[in-house]
Symmetry: C2
Subunit: 350 residues, 2 copies
Amino acid sequence: MKPTLRAVAEAVGVSRSTVSNAYSRPDQLSAELRRRILDTARQMGYPGPDPTARSLRRGFVGAVGVLFTSRLSYAFTDPFAVRFLTGVAEAAERHGSSLLLVPLPAEPAGAVKAVENAAVDGFCVYCAGDEEGILDTIRGRGLPFVTTSSRPRAGDRWVGIDERAAARSVAEHLAGLGHRRVALLGDNVLPDAATGLLRVADVADVPHPTTRERLAGFADAFAAVGVAWPELAILSAPGNTRAAGAAAVRALDALAEPPTAVLACSDVLALGALDALVAAGGHQAISVTGFDDIAEAESAGLTTVRQPGEEKGRSAAQLLFDPPADASAGQILLPTTLIVRTSSGPVPRS
Amino acid sequence: MKPTLRAVAEAVGVSRSTVSNAYSRPDQLSAELRRRILDTARQMGYPGPDPTARSLRRGFVGAVGVLFTSRLSYAFTDPFAVRFLTGVAEAAERHGSSLLLVPLPAEPAGAVKAVENAAVDGFCVYCAGDEEGILDTIRGRGLPFVTTSSRPRAGDRWVGIDERAAARSVAEHLAGLGHRRVALLGDNVLPDAATGLLRVADVADVPHPTTRERLAGFADAFAAVGVAWPELAILSAPGNTRAAGAAAVRALDALAEPPTAVLACSDVLALGALDALVAAGGHQAISVTGFDDIAEAESAGLTTVRQPGEEKGRSAAQLLFDPPADASAGQILLPTTLIVRTSSGPVPRS
DNA sequence: GATCCAGACTGAATCGATCCAGAAGAGGGG
DNA sequence: CCCCTCTTCTGGATCGATTCAGTCTGGATC
């Protein structure tokens, strides 16, 4: 067994307080004694104050929790999530904090337990499915947190973009190019895990808030040019991956008249859509747009909406570390930009 | 202030142990009493046992530390590191553990402190620069760990590849295509942060173990066809990024006779090299190879050595969670494969 | 020479739980 | 009716440190 602080104190012949001070408050004891303490500590193989015990006593941990809803390992396969995490990491390392990545089990009860058991000083919540349940648990613990995805409660710290307006901007671009018969592509659009071409009575039925807002934004633009919601084809992918996007788009084959454009809720899905269209040989005819502007989007020539991923993470962590005195400054709206590339073009005359 | 377990115990009129049992050992008390306890706890706003206090008493935390040497936020920009992390995350979530990502300050003393202060049950050490210093600190704490990068000490748990043989395999491929005048590209080849074309007296002078092994493997293959170490051009990039790789390769312009091939120590660097060569217009003439086989390598047609990234992470975590009874099984050597694509070809006759 | 003060160090209380030996009570078997 | 076992619950010790109100010492001040 490793020696404890007490053992060191006894070996040197001083009180535990003094040994503690030798580590954490050098100014509280003479340099000479401090040296002696640290020396014998080293000799005895004392590894320094136990982090857990210290945290308990001090009342803080030095780590922020990061919450992804989907399986943690999936988070890393999502380029945008990785960029967010990069930003959080950047702020955290500047602040001297560690990052605790907490895997959330699929069942709500398990997720709540995971949040309750996380030894952290606060949370960055990235896009959770059962967001409210999780936020309530965090509130229950009395820990500070910052959300990103859905619309925040008044008083909650938040950083995000205007999802709906951003989505509208790409859709307006396509509408401007003359597209009227279009498909909207999202992942897990409805809760029942149905995949492919879907009938969605109302955008409000879409459970995932980000997907919902983006679809609504797309719809807004088309409504403005006279295309109503029921006329839009809705495609649901089984997940936010390239393969899933491709699979969903293949469902369009069933349509008598294929759409002239596919608007995806993420770049990953959009790239998958391109994959499928290229494989089918008809990609010239169909415009595809994405959302996020991940690295691959550029080389693929994907028209998309750029949102600042790293900055989102950085601001979130920053907001957690030093909360603005003025609560109204606790909600940061980041800008988005429409990036037009080659994957979108005018409707082909046929 | 949030109520504590003690407060709940007093409110219900039972002992603290019983409340504790209500949460952690339901079989130790009657269902009826348990319900009563949990109910009043909920009413009082008790968030459940404090994770830190619990960890202290139980002696374990439920989190594994992951150590990257370079700045934590850089880790996420390295696709191979992300894949490793994905694997670790996968194993961790299966095991119900969290991941503590610990940023390591650049100065060794700070890094040691960071490792000492991490509240974890063990570490996965991914490619650390001052690896030995860090491993010693972990050993000092008496915590289990798994390393990946450099050659392991006997008895240490380890998962990795035969870096040197793998590197040799790509180099042999190029040598077989007739290449004799080649450049080797790594990041931070020498400790003095020199960039571009370098004079390196001996491979052994390269501080970073992975880079050293890979360069040595490249050299092995060329030595076998009569090209000695001093005849190889060594390029050092200022970091493991695409831009850095491109920058380093531009130094080749200074050469009277440019090499016919560039062998990079990572795909990221290789892609950067391709960028630079494409920009210069001469990429047809020069073969480029990478290392790792990241996702972008395929679409770029990059010849490379594939190593199983996710599996590396998964095995590392697995090795940490359930150590093999037989210590000799604690070192896992993963296979590598040469992947030949279009970025390598025969030496052009001129 | 009495007073004051800063600096060095101590001790007990505390952080918030979990663990374990054992007490109390209920039921069962002989 | 007594002994034994089981279940249910309790109290105190403990995990390993930090904190804070003091004590003690030696020297400066008037």
